[in-house]
Every structure is written in structure tokens, then in C-alpha cells.
Amino acid sequence: MAKPMHDTPMLDQLESGPWPSFVTGLKRLANDNDMMVDLMGQLETSYETRKGYWKGGTVGVIGYGGGVIPRFTELKDENDKALYPEAAEFHTLRIMPPPGMHYDTNTIRKFCDIWEEHGSGLIAFHGQSGDIMFQGCTTDKVQPAFDELNEMGFDMGGAGPAVRTGMSCVGAARCEQSCFDEGRTMRTLVNNALDDLHRPALPYKMKYKVSGCPNDCMNSIQRADFATIGTWRDDMKVDQVEVKNYVETRGRKYIIDNVITRCPTQALSLNDDDTLDVDNKNCVRCMHCINVMTKALSPGDDKGVSILIGGKRTLKIGDLMGTVIVPFHKLETDEDFEWLEELATEVLDFFAENALEHERTGEMIERIGLTNFLEGIGIEIDPNMIERPRMNPYVRTDDWDEEAAKWNERQAAQ
């Protein structure tokens, strides 16, 4: 203990300024933690040379194939000896939080005690994947640290080509815009796929994100292979007395400029008596007017979810957003949740069997086409899945009549 601190003139400059400083936190840990002394030494070196010095490896816990992010230093002298030996191993444990990232203080205090005993004392709430990241642990301490966290009722998160840790918004716990039980949904999706989460064997990652309304606070359309977003299919609820109050307090011009004319489908109109007229058939559930007039407007009563598949960021073929594959489905009863579980299983199985190595669902759909994907998972086509019909004539329409008959049959059955 009490290894002397390295000089860190560059990091020191990040102690000043009004925003909370992680460097001050690292230093406090380094007072009685040699691993953090050397971690700061390596980090300062990175700041000087503008290079990273970690490499991966294979570290895990018994029974699982993933969830630990192994880090070994590459900053070594000519004899292959680590320059900062106490931080030569600096692994991270990814642990899944409860949906909505709620905690009581005792739980977090226990996390701190465990991580002070077995790790560096550095914890991130939370990583971009939604995990609690217990950062900085030697190989031999990974197992005892995990065992204690696991005894508390927490489980390892995903890493590598696997189902990843899910995310859900605060939702029903504290938001009137919530359209379903986000927490139950997130647990249904992730806990249904724990084998593929803990034992990475998929072509690439599979992410589930759950947002309670189209504000999509979990960024699911852009970041999730499987996005579940709340919506409703009856009329939006309008409290006309509150609408009038808004007009009176904010002014008619404000309401016209910021609510009426901002509606993307011109579905709103302010009546002469300052009540609101809503063309619900043309409302696309964008949430804007509800966001502005939180007291007057709210989602309808016939709530459910839309499901979009295939969102991801850049590599390899470029950014992709999710595509609607389920415009609406109720998500209330046990049967509804069983339906969701079955759909998610179909999607996961199809992905596992048909995606190329390192290909995400969005890229797979781009390669094989949406209709092939839908056929594979047993979902009927729907015009809500498209932005507009095909614009190019390069298509064979041999069995047009049969396809049209299918559509007419489905319409007649409704």
C-alpha cells in the first residue's frame, strides 16, 4: 500500500473547473490503492503520447463465456515488464441493473464495499450498453467479486457476439407518457435469451431496447436490433379545460406556433373558443404536442407497442435505423407477453442461423430484403412497414394476382 503517486501534470489540469472531476476521484482512490496509482500512471502516459495501451484477452467467470471485459497493459519496457505493474490487469465486470436503473442506497453501498474489497473502487453508472461497469480488477479477483454481486441478486451483462444487456426508460414507474410495462418487457426480452447473453455464440451482437413512448428516450430505433416502443391506437386524450388554460397563460400565438403548426401531419387545429381539434386518423403519435402541453394532452387508453428491427451504428455498411415489423400489438396480458417472447425468439433464431459473421440484424435485412426476413419469422407484410412503395421497376411480379388475393383475404378477415 501507499505506493507514491506518479506525476500527472496533464490529468491534474482536469481537476479544476465546475463539473465533477473523475481525476479527483481517481486520486482519492489512489491514496490507499496501488492499482489506481499505476492506472493513473498509464492514463497520464496516454495523455502525453495520445495512444491507448490496453489489449483484450480471455478472462471470465465459471459457467459463463462473456460479461468480463479483460484488459492487460501493453505499456512495457524492453524486457516485457509492465511499466505500471499494479495496473497490468484492469478488467471490467458488466453487471445488469434493474430496468429503469432504480436503486435503494443500501444496494449501491454494498456494490461499493464489494468493489473496494475486490477491485479498484471505480464504478461507472452506467456504460453505453446499460451495464453497471465495475472497472479495474485483477484476474484472480474477478470470480470472488462476481460471486458476491451474484449473491446480491445481480447477474452478468452481455459482451461480444451475444445478446447484450437491455435498456428501458423510467417508463411506468414515473412517466405519464408510458404506454406499457417497460420493465416487464425488458426483463421478458433479455431473460428469455440468457443463454445467448452469457455464452456468446451469435454472428454478432443483439440489442434490445425498450422505450415507453415515441419520444424514445432509450434511443432504440437507432441503437437496438429489437426496439419496442410504446404507442396507442385510439384517440389521444384531450382535457379541453387545460388546453384553454395553456392558451390563456402562454398566449394564442405561442400555442399556434409551438403546438398547432409543429404537428408533422397537420392534425391539429385551434378552435375559435381556444379548444383543440384533433384529427386522430392522421395523428402519427409523434408526441410533440403532448410534450408541450403535458397537463392537457396524453396518450389514449388503447395502448400497446410498435416493434422495429435492425437499428445500429456505422460499421460495416453504414448507419441503419430500425424498420417497423409490428405496427401495433397489445402488451398487457400474460398471453401478450408470451407473444412477445415468441416473436423475439423467432428473430433471434433467424439471426443466429442466417446472419454472416459480424453482421447485425439491420445489415442482414439489407442483404436479404425485408420480405425474406418477414417470411423467415412468420410475420405478414403491412404498409406501415414502408416509407413509400418501390420507386424502381427492377422487380418480377409474376404472381401478382396471388399476392393481391392474399391481401384481399386478409382485409376481408378483419
Binding site: 479544476s16 482512490l29 436503486y103 442506497t105
Partner: protein, 357 residues
Amino acid sequence: MAEAPRMPDETGVPEMDAYLHPVLKKNYGDWKWHDRPRPGVLHHVANSGDEIWTVRAGTQRQMDVYTIRKLMDIADEFAEGYVRFTIRSNIEYMVSEESKVQPLIDKLNAEGFPIGGTGNSVSMISHTQGWLHCDIPGTDASGAVKALMDELYDEFTKEEMPNRVRITTSCCQINCGGQGDIAINIQHTKPPKIDHDQVANVCERPSVVARCPVAAIRPAVVNGKPSLEVDEKKCICCGACFPPCPPMQINDPEHSKFAIWVGGKNSNARSKPTFHKLVAAGVPNNPPRWPEVSDVVKKILAAYKEDAKDWERIGEWAERIGWPRFFEKTGLPFTKYHIDNWRGGRANLNASAHIRF
């Protein structure tokens, strides 16, 4: 015989009930409306008549146990023993009495935690791991974010932007930080330098070849050893080959720069979700405070704050005033690199007579 090892309890995502503030648990799925009494404070009212006030504070995300315990002490003493975290690493304290809000705010401020990040503010930057823990970083994350949030502190604690501003940073082009109103991402400018002695030992060559978006990598024998070579004319310097093959050194202390992107939007409110667009590149990777990055970000924010209408996000503002005016108002140079030439890129060209004069 050795003792059998402990096998994990494969419990998955825990139920939230045990961790939920009692008022949230009681009114689960039954909230009526909310407002924001002041920046950093949310006030939710349930159909039951119950009310809850949420105080949101910024954190440094990478937290030492002392800081975390301090936050928990505050939760026990000034709040009601329950907290949650937002997607942007802000901590939220829930209290069931309005009278507790101000003392809680005062205590958090006294301990150095800013109150804000709600509504039309600049919230905490969502960021990645960088030099602290990533194996492929071109820069640091925590440091760049700390430096920038120092500069944007007032925009976090006030709600003075036209609409919310969500900033992200990413230490490579994989962009783990995600889409943002403003995204600050490393952009490599030189092809990888290959350590040919290592490739055969470390890399599965066919999968590295397959990883390249422009098919610029091919197997080769160099100095008698199996290795890889890069067609440098084709290479777009994306760094995709580096994670599966670390000898393809893409990070370059001098030539890896920052690029700034604007107009990413996750929400469906008003317009459909959008991806962010490149507006600046060649910004130096200059630790420990990355002042050149702050300059560009502040320029964009100042122009947006001055010119956008209420509720317009940065991307919506730019689309309304047109990109020529965006470059004019921000003073950023427009270059040939802004013109998309990736597949499908012509969709991003102006195929109309819509021109503003």
C-alpha cells in the same frame, strides 16, 4: 477431491420492485401529468393525487466509491433513500414532499454536483471509455467530456436552449457514444500502419479482409510471412480492421483527428428520427482539455441558441434554415468532404430548385 466451484445464479435482469421508491411503486403505470418547476427538477402527479419531485444532478460517470457513498449519504439524509440514473449518467433523487427539494439542491450544490440536465438544457454528454479502459481508443472520453462540461456548465444548469441538446463523444468511428444533436467522434485520416511481424500470430486474416467496408484489404506475404496489405487509395481510414487485428495500427497520435457531427435525433417528436451529419473535421486531438473541440461546439451552440425557434432541435433548425445558412451562421468552412459519396449518397444532394438567397 476439490470442492465444486460455485456456479452462477443465472437470474438475468432483476425485478425493479425492491429498488423502487415507494411512491413510484404505488403509482406504477398510473401517472397523470408532469411539469418542471425549475431546471433540474421534475414534478410528477399521479391519478391517485400522489406527487413526486425528482432532482437531477450531473455526475462524472466514472465514479470512485467515495463519491458514490457521498451521493448515497445525500440520498439518505436529504432524500428518501432511493435514486436512479438516467441514460446520460445523471443521478436522480425522488422525494415525496416539495419542502425537501430546496435543501436537497443546496446540499448537492455544496458538494459540487450541478443541478440540471432537464428540458431544453444541454444535458450530460454520453460517452465511452477511451484511454481509461478501451482497447482501440483514439482518444480519451472522460477527460474530453469533463473539459467540455466545464465549458457548458451553465447550459446544463439552465434551460435556455431552443430545445434539448444531446451531445455524444466517441473515441473511434464505431461511435459507441451514439447519435447526437452534436456528436464528437475520432476520425482517422491515414490508412493503418501494419506491423507485419505480428499479423500472422494475432489475426484471423480472412475475417479482417471481410471486415473492410471498401474491400481495400487483401492477404499478402511480407518479408516471407503471411500478412495483409491495404490498398491505400481505396482505404477510407475507418479503423474497422483494427479491433479484429491490432497490428493494423489505425490510431495515429498526430493524424487521428476529431470530426464534429450535428443533427442526430432519436425522438420521433415532430420529425422522424435522423442521423447526425458531418460539419467539421480535422479538429486536433489535444489533451488534456481539447480546446479546439470546445470552440467548434460552442460556435454551433451559440448559432443555434440565437437563431432556432422554440422546440427546434439542432438538426430541425439546420433543415429549416438550410445548410448553406448553417455554415454561414456557424462560420464553419464547407468543403468537398461534406458532399456524401458513399453508396446511396446522391439522396443527400439537392435535386430541386429549392435554393435560399
